[in-house]
């Protein structure tokens, strides 16, 4: 294996060959699932009130990748969602924009046209999302297409089939090549932890992605159950923390799928704060991949501001 791997200078032994890579990944400290779940459950009992809640709600809005990934998506739907990404709450000028709009690659141009100049990023899923079952050539073409259409963030999926039968080098090579195809665009690597099944696998896949040059590791496509969970996000946060300690590079984490309430989002922020640390408490280092979450965040923001809950019809459905 003679790849130009971005983390090669920090992990020279691990990346020397297929067998050293396997030894490295299997030599990472194990994850005790019961313990990880207990830690996540304890962190979820934190009680976030008043000014800290207001801060957290705003931060969660700023961290949201507002997402639509349906076969029925149309240019109109994507334009509407992009407008909402820029101005989530038209009744409140203090409401920040979200981090990005996340769409299929062929619609990236529609999104880019709407968000241009707003600071909102355009994220496109690529590499035969969500299954990843296509040839490398197709995946790379998919990636280049999306970047050419205006995406500045690419959400790729790893080849879970290759990962599960132990062909780690192949998974790594694909990530490295997609990263090159991204050019200046940021790369989020979707591990699809629901298909990897164990937390040990989630940790190994996160290290593979980081070694391959990922700017973010992302839990899920949202098309598989379970999607993001607190324990799996805990493991990814530990991985990025440890990788930063080794290399100095802070890789981000994106929790995607299944996060629907502001309360849940705040639990994730508490975990980011206490497991990875403050360095990850920015939209550059932590994201939520979600569609319905945003309206609950807006509802809770308005409640904090006015002291009363507004009905759901006061927030736009796009």
């Amino acid at each position: 294996m003679s790849l130009l791997v971005p983390a090669a200078e920090h992990l020279p032994d691990a990346l020397a060959s297929e067998s050293t890579l396997r030894r490295f990944l299997h030599g990472l400290p194990g994850v005790d699932q019961v313990g990880a779940e207990a830690r996540a459950a304890t962190l979820a009992t934190r009680s976030i009130k008043r000014e800290s809640k207001r801060w957290a709600l705003d931060m969660a809005v700023r961290m949201t990748d507002l997402t639509t990934l349906e076969g029925a998506d149309t240019p109109g739907k994507v334009r509407a969602l992009s407008a909402k990404a820029v101005r989530p709450d038209p009744s409140d000028p203090t409401c920040p924009s979200v981090a990005a709009v996340c769409v299929y690659g062929d619609l990236a141009g529609e999104a880019a046209a709407v968000v241009a100049g707003s600071g909102v990023h355009v994220a496109a899923v690529a590499t035969a999302f969500p299954s990843g079952r296509a040839s490398l050539a197709v995946k790379l073409a998919d990636t280049r297409d999306a970047v050419a259409a205006g995406a500045d963030e690419i959400d790729m999926v790893i080849d879970r089939g290759a990962f599960l039968c132990g062909r780690y080098g192949e998974v790594l090579e694909e990530i490295v090549q997609v990263k090159q195809a991204c050019g200046p665009a940021h790369l989020k690597v979707i591990l699809e932890t629901g298909e990897l099944a164990t937390l040990d696998n989630a940790r190994r896949a996160a290290w593979l992605a980081m070694a391959g040059g990922a700017d973010f590791v992302k839990t899920s496509t949202g098309k598989v159950t379970p999607a993001a969970t607190l324990p799996v996000t805990l493991v990814l946060l530990e991985a990025v923390r440890d990788f930063a300690a080794l290399t100095g590079r802070a890789v981000g984490v994106k929790a995607a799928g299944g996060i629907r309430s502001a309360k849940d989002a705040i639990r994730y922020l508490v975990m980011v704060n206490e497991v990875a640390g403050e360095r990850w408490l920015t939209p550059e280092a932590f994201r939520f991949g979600a569609s319905t979450l945003l309206n609950d965040l807006l509802l809770q923001r308005a409640k904090q501001r006015t002291g009363a809950y507004a009905g759901p019809d006061y927030f736009t459905i796009d």
């Binding site: 400290p29 830690r39 976030i48």
Partner: protein, 478 residues
């Protein structure tokens, strides 16, 4: 200033209706002590006096034991077991219904964080009553003969670290087996036991079945030495346990003791490191380290000591010390000035004997009794902090090279209450657990309790088991 600063989220104390004074709970009613003595119980987080509590003298203890004897002979010892079970189920249910009230009161009087009193102490106390309620009419199948009989009157002396939970550990099996009880809570934490007395009234437990005599060491001595008891159960220090054993030597009174500990938490190089860090934190900083089975000695394999300690220190820096009623507090107040003095003195001996102290940046409140989470590295087996029970948030870190050395060091203590083993390799866990002389061995976890699981010590950590089927033996003529 932290980026994400958690605003105070205090649990309201209004749910607790504190009375200015509490009497002794004898024969189903709150009564004044014969000589009118009282003592104050204090909130250790603020030093504010919470209430005046009656101090029981020998005459009061005598009255309580007599009431328990009458209740045993007249009602409880002859009651159909299924009826006894109904009372215990009712106690358990009321504990659940009034859980918030108990949690707040426990945190006020003891200083422990509300997260622990709410999520551990009170639910486990209710679980113990539920569990033993189920045994009351099934004693024939407990493995102690076809017709096991209750002993009679039990005198029970409990400590201040888990006031309500220890009361539940003592009362539930005793009552299920058909005994009556005289319970003496610790003098710094009597209030939750007295609230439990109100619950016993609420469920119409017959008078005299449970009597609660409050007071300090003198009250405890009067109870233990009373002579009218069939059984004494004590949880507390090894020193007092030995005194009790001397007092009862040669008498017909049965005895079980649950005493101190200096548990080893053994981390092998193939351990799940992040979860081991959590287990270490939970092992020694749970309840400010006021835990007899606390994992106060960390034995870590040398090849993994450095990364483990680095992670551990990072983790300790995130612990939140402060107001016990704040739902985000991890470390509460030390229970008393005397205990704080003992912790401070032992920690100083660690410095003097050459161990290296490390504490995270951790501002302490101005009032109340506090000790920051502390770890000592470079500890050797001969240091006092490796041998004596500190009963505070102080962790001694030792290293080992081979599994044999780990076991030898872990067992090289006069105590033997609990131990922890961390490894991803099942065979190594079993090999180690078989060789550890400790009553409880946790694998890849620590400080996990369940009413179905027996708990108790080897060597100077005491004898007898509490919890599970085994816990019934101490209260039956088995």
């Amino acid at each position: 200033m932290p980026v994400f600063d958690y605003a105070p989220a205090p649990e309201s104390r209004d749910i607790v209706a504190l009375r200015p004074g509490y009497g002794l709970f004898v024969d189903g009613a709150f009564t004044e002590p014969a000589d009118g003595g009282t003592f104050k119980t204090v909130n250790p987080a603020t030093e504010e006096v919470l209430a005046e509590v009656a101090e029981a003298g020998p005459a009061d203890v005598d009255r309580a034991v007599a009431a328990a004897r009458r209740a045993f002979d007249g009602v409880w010892g002859r009651m159909r077991p299924a009826e006894r079970a109904k009372y215990l189920f009712r106690i358990a249910r009321v504990l659940q219904e009034r859980a918030r009230e108990f949690a707040v009161l426990e945190s006020l009087d003891n200083g422990k964080p509300i997260r622990e009193s709410r999520d551990v102490d009170v639910p486990l106390a209710a679980a113990h009553f539920f569990y033993y309620a189920g045994w009351a009419d099934k004693l024939r199948w407990a493995g102690f003969g076809g017709d096991p009989r209750p002993l009679g009157v039990a005198g029970q002396v409990i400590p201040w670290n888990f006031p309500l939970l220890m009361a539940a550990w003592k009362l539930a099996p005793a009552l299920a087996a058909g005994n009556t009880c005289v319970l003496k809570p610790a003098e710094t934490t009597p209030l939750s036991a007295l609230l439990l007395a109100e619950v016993l009234q609420q469920v119409d437990l017959p008078p005299g079945v449970v009597n609660i005599v409050t007071g300090a060491g003198g009250t405890g001595r009067a109870l233990v030495a009373h002579g009218g008891l069939d059984k004494v159960a004590f949880t507390g220090s090894t020193e007092v346990g030995k005194q009790i054993q001397r007092t009862l030597a040669g008498t017909r009174t049965k005895l079980t003791l649950e005493l101190g500990g200096k548990a080893a938490n053994i981390v092998f190089d193939d351990a799940p490191l992040d979860q081991a860090v959590e287990g270490i934190v939970n092992g020694i900083f749970f309840n400010q380290g006021h835990v007899c089975c606390a994992g106060s000695r960390l034995l870590v394999q040398e090849s993994v000591a450095e990364p483990l300690l680095e992670r551990l220190k990072q983790r300790l820096a995130t612990l939140r010390l402060g107001d016990p009623l704040d739902k985000n507090t991890d470390i509460g107040a030390v229970n008393s000035a005397a205990q704080l003095e003992r912790i401070t003195e032992l920690a100083a001996s660690g410095d003097a004997e050459g161990a290296v102290r490390w504490q995270p940046e951790c501002p302490l409140p101005d009032r109340g009794w506090w000790f920051p989470p502390t770890l000592f590295t470079g500890v050797s087996q001969s240091h006092r902090i490796a041998r004596e029970e500190i009963f505070g948030p102080v962790l001694s870190v030792l290293t080992f090279r081979t599994p044999d050395e780990a076991v030898v060091k872990a067992n090289n203590t006069p105590y033997g209450l609990s131990a922890g083993v961390w490894s991803e390799k099942g065979s190594r866990i079993l090999w180690t657990a078989q060789r550890l002389r400790a009553g409880v061995v946790w694998a890849n976890t620590f400080n996990r309790f369940d009413p179905a699981s027996p708990f108790g010590g080897y060597k100077e950590s005491g004898f007898g088991r509490e919890g599970g089927r085994h816990g019934l033996e101490a209260y039956l003529d088995a």
